[in-house]
Point group: C2
Chain length 327, copies 2
């Protein structure tokens, strides 16, 4: 009988849930608006109802011996797995929420919580491109830059319960203002927003004329920048190459400290085609001291963006269950 777990991914705009088996097949899934202003309890109550509906109606009929799924994994921004709390999550507007406490009022099933970017690495390591690898980094280039780091086969969770904040290492002392309150963080350069800011800087520099000058900053999207680059817009091309250079400098830091075998790039910006991804490995090599050159592969993440959160949360539940069974 297969083990089935529920994976839940809480995001700023939408939340997703799905039932996942041990092979990483998503048996049934759903998506709903997060509506963070209604609070975490209201969100969980809707997720819980939807999970039961999915289980009854959409998960194929032969299920499990007990008639129930085995465990729940939950991913959220700024989640602290050890405490079971979600703490000042960006885009949700909550303070410190005892999220596992809420969930445990609804079920006796084992449940675990983790930081979404870390869980993405767990998912990629269990079901995706990094399967079987002991040392790798997953970078998710969305609006910001998320990352999860696996060292010696285990997720780096940090003594504080927070870790792998690659987006917030300082790339430029006194550089661009970051949402975290500091300046020059990598994600202000290497992310969809960072790319948009680089386009503006290049427009201000004035070395290239560009059709992107017709758009307001508010209206400018990374997709428009990709399209312009494809159509031969030199400024858009330079902006993407610069983004690769910024990102490469950040990745080099991880290589010098942890020497991963592979670095996987996911998220919307990774789909920008060759303008970003092609110069990246070469730029990374340029930023490495000799002993690390040629030791690290850069590749696209493999799990589909839409399922990544669910699969990461499911990977947390499955690996935690295995941890219990080993004891």
């Amino acid at each position: 009988m297969k083990k089935i777990v529920l994976g839940v991914d809480i995001g700023g705009t939408n939340s997703r849930l799905g039932f996942v088996d041990e092979q990483g097949a998503v048996l049934a899934k759903a998506k709903m608006e997060t509506l963070p202003h209604e609070g975490p309890e209201a969100l969980w109550s809707r997720i819980w109802l939807e999970a039961q509906r999915l289980w009854q109606d959409e998960v194929p009929s032969v299920k499990t011996l007990s008639g129930c799924w085995s465990a729940i994994g939950i991913g959220a921004p700024n989640a602290h797995g050890g405490r079971g709390f979600i703490e000042y999550p960006p885009n949700l507007g909550w303070a410190v929420v005892d999220f596992l406490g809420i969930v445990r009022r609804y079920t006796d099933l084992p449940v675990w919580l983790g930081n979404d970017a870390n869980l993405a690495a767990l998912g990629e390591g269990r079901f995706g491109a990094a399967a079987g690898q002991q040392n790798f980094l997953l970078v998710t280039l969305g609006t910001g830059l998320g990352s999860g780091l696996v060292v010696n086969g285990s997720l780096v969770e940090g003594d504080s319960g927070f870790s792998a904040e690659l987006g917030h290492i300082t790339l430029e002392e006194g550089g661009r203002q970051c949402g975290c309150g500091r300046r020059g963080c990598l994600e202000t350069y290497a992310s969809a927003n960072g790319l948009r800011r680089t386009v503006l800087e290049l427009l201000a520099e004035g070395a290239y004329s560009s059709r992107l000058g017709d758009l307001s900053f508010a209206a400018l999207t990374s997709e428009q920048i990709f399209q312009a680059a494809e159509l031969g817009d030199q400024l858009a091309q330079v902006a993407l190459k610069r983004t690769a250079t910024y990102l490469a400098r950040g990745l080099a830091t991880v290589v010098h400290l942890c020497s991963p075998r592979s670095i996987y790039i996911g998220g919307g910006l990774s789909l920008s085609g060759d303008w970003l991804m092609k110069p990246l490995p070469e730029q990374l090599e340029r930023n490495l001291m000799p002993v690390f050159r040629g030791t690290v592969a850069v590749a696209l993440a493999q799990l589909a963006e839409a399922d990544l959160g669910i699969l990461g949360a499911a990977a947390l539940a499955l690996s935690s269950l295995e941890g219990i069974e080993r004891k």
Copy 2:
């Protein structure tokens, strides 16, 4: 009966060896010139003779059941534990040396090799300030900057076999020339040599007059800079504070990625008193994003400089033996 291992520390100028028990007591030790131009085989043959002399003459008479010590641990610069090689070690002038191959021609005892900076962290974690800690960083501020990183209770050795090269993360893009061939590496700022370069920069800036202006760069030592600072020399004081600021920026990167509980600072420069060490924790906090503030302690390393290499190598031997026994 106690287990006793031989710890060997190969350095650019001197090499050390010592017999160490499971509690970290150094039962007998010796120091000799490395004489790297004579080659690695000549060095090992002298170390081996000296080890046998120490064992017979200086290790207290009640020894071990077998009459022999249990294992050998060896630390060296640019050592690759997995391959058993020492590869292009700075200051030794060797190319790629199969060092374990040489050692095994002299003995059947189990022997392990590791990077000296990593082994220092193992030693500090087994016998010193970091005992029992699952996540910590050890930084050794000597001529350069060495570091060893422990995550989830195990040493970060890297997929490539090289890792924790904190001294070579880029602090200033296009900054000071580094011995590794790149520019702006942290160790060109935060190390004894970095401090000397900062003094020169400050002399060039000309904002402070200083007695250090009477010394040539070749003659200037970090000890002279400490003494000048103690005697009220403002330039020397500013140079030490700037060094703390540079180091703090590098340490912040490690905190954002791995969130250690503690950062231990060892090496000659850590003994410079309050001018460097006092501003360091505050500067580190300033460079952290909010969730990491207050989560990491900065303290002096505990093991004596003279025994650190021997104890680190012994820790490698002891933990490797335990790994075998568990299997």
